[in-house]
Symmetry: C2
Subunit: 337 residues, 2 copies
């Protein structure tokens, strides 16, 4: 299907479910962007869930989002249980403005929801020639080191900087061996997941996606990844006033109340310390690393963000392919007026 | 030997090598603290190297450290090739003051050297009830994902927060599977290292510490760890004006000039968004995680910082044990007046 047509359709679905035109625009754009970068687990497969949450009023379709200015550089946002995309979009724009004014912007968001890919927000800052960090917590997926029960989310760490090249440097890595969404997609499509990334509910290694969803995902690098996940939970949840310590609700399974996800955005002028030289310095950094001798089979040493951009370009041309079960869901949702 | 006696001896060695009393105090304290937390690779095994670098004037014993105030919250320090401990100590104290005044402090440091453990600096902020991040780059040790040559340092990520308990929450994790210093100590003591943490110079897995020192260390979690190491290099090096992209000199092997390591410290008032509740929130967070069901053989789920504190307590009582070869080095250095 034509990408633009799908975008309009998704936008209309959200308008029909009570979102304002502006909020429906933001939401549908990020959902389509997720498809275009190949992050299907953050794309159309979530539309039905978002709509159900709106219907059950655990997502607020008409939120009163409050921005509390703490200083010229620092703001606190109460998202009033908006769909996550919307509050995160307001949050990053607020942080960008602060950084442009004072060199540094910090925005903490509470009472939000799943916001899609961190890179959506990082990219906005980088396009304004700023350096950026985005953090969010998420529903339980990873077991803390030493525990046999999940508690931390996949809690991504995202960092972006202008690269001096067309493609920005955007690292967006979960601290889980595998993205929970990828397991969910594999389960839907009946595909296997790699061994060593998850355990079943009894604590045994499994490559069965459905069993993994009931078990635990493993953090990267044992206590190191577990510590990083813990850090992200503290920064996104404890600090911001959002849920934390495993209390962020799973959006697919738990309709007992809003998710209350927390996000933390930091934005910085990269010219603060080295002035205009920053761009030549980062260009040199990337050039030197790209020129290193490569291991067998590697054509190019890629910096974070390059892979996602090349997938985006390909998919823009190819057009979005919607799996049959999701298309049926969308058609049903679209029929609701 | 009595810890206090060793401290005085190390202090005197640095005074004899031209450091001011104040700088010798800072340096010797952090070196002894490294021993006491069991980080021998960051302790007495480095004293001879520091002295040699001072003698060859690639560490400046009488640095003119310049602090440039960029805003109420942000400062840039030119360390003038001081020993790393000294500029980092000034840096964290500057960041703490800014955070106390404005809620947030950011300090970038260039022309510095190896500063020991990041947790030394994080702990200072946490003791003042502040949240803190410390970053530093380091000499080449890890191969970027796809490359067969080392370039990134072990580039630690350090995060600290008051925990509401006596023991602060301090995560201090390198993004390398193994600390380079640990390989160096193993090589000195003729011990093996685990398989899977390093490759020899031909790209083959090795458990021989000496071969690993000539080869490459592996990042945690492939491209994820490689991306995090790259992020730390950009934040500590490209942003601050320090060396980067593999140009930080190895302090043991390269006396051709100063190291020009870069550090970045961020300090934040944790009460910014949730007020005094922060302490009860973080206490609850830790309590919930500690109460999770544990995997077989695990007595307690520890938060980052607990392990290091219990080692410290034990070693304070036990006293520092100095390996013979290092004791000989120290006695020689102590004889220089």
């Amino acid at each position: 299907m034509k990408n633009r047509k799908i975008l309009k359709q998704i936008r209309q679905i959200f308008i029909n479910h009570g979102l304002s035109k502006l909020h429906a625009n933001i939401t549908s754009k990020f959902i389509i962007d997720a498809e275009l970068v190949g992050a299907h687990s953050h794309g159309l497969s979530r539309v039905k869930m978002y709509c159900e949450r709106i219907k059950k009023r655990v997502i607020n379709p008409k939120p009163k989002i409050k921005i509390k200015k703490i200083s010229q550089s620092i703001s606190h946002i109460d998202a009033n249980n908006s769909i996550g995309f919307v509050s995160a979009d307001i949050g990053i724009k607020t942080a960008i403005k602060s950084a442009q004014k004072t060199g540094f912007g910090l925005v903490a968001i509470k009472n939000s929801g799943h916001y899609g890919l961190s890179s959506f927000y990082a990219e906005q800052a980088v396009k304004k020639n700023l350096m950026v960090w985005c953090f969010t917590n998420a529903p339980p997926a990873i077991a803390p080191h030493g525990a046999k029960k999940t508690l931390f989310g996949t809690n991504p760490i995202c960092f972006g900087t202008p690269s001096g090249n067309k493609v920005p440097f955007i690292l967006d890595t979960s601290v889980s061996m595998i993205n929970r969404g990828k397991i969910r997609v594999a389960a839907k499509q009946g595909k296997k997941i790699p061994l060593g990334v998850a355990l079943d509910k009894n604590g045994n290694p499994t490559n069965d996606a459905k069993k993994a969803l009931k078990g635990v995902q493993l953090p990267i690098a044992g206590f190191r990844g577990s510590g990083l996940a813990w850090m992200v939970d503290i920064m996104s949840g404890v600090l911001t006033g959002a849920n934390h310590a495993g209390k962020v609700k799973d959006p697919f399974d738990d309709f007992s109340g809003p998710q209350n996800v927390g996000h933390l955005f930091m934005v910085l002028k990269p010219s603060l310390f080295v002035g205009k030289n920053y761009i030549s310095r980062i260009k040199e950094n990337i050039k030197i690393i790209k020129r290193l001798p490569k291991i067998k089979g590697v054509k190019e040493i890629m910096y974070p963000g390059q892979g996602i951009r090349s997938r985006y370009k390909k998919n823009i041309k190819k057009g979005i392919v919607i799996p049959k079960n999701i298309l049926e869901d969308l058609n049903k949702l679209n029929a609701i007026k």
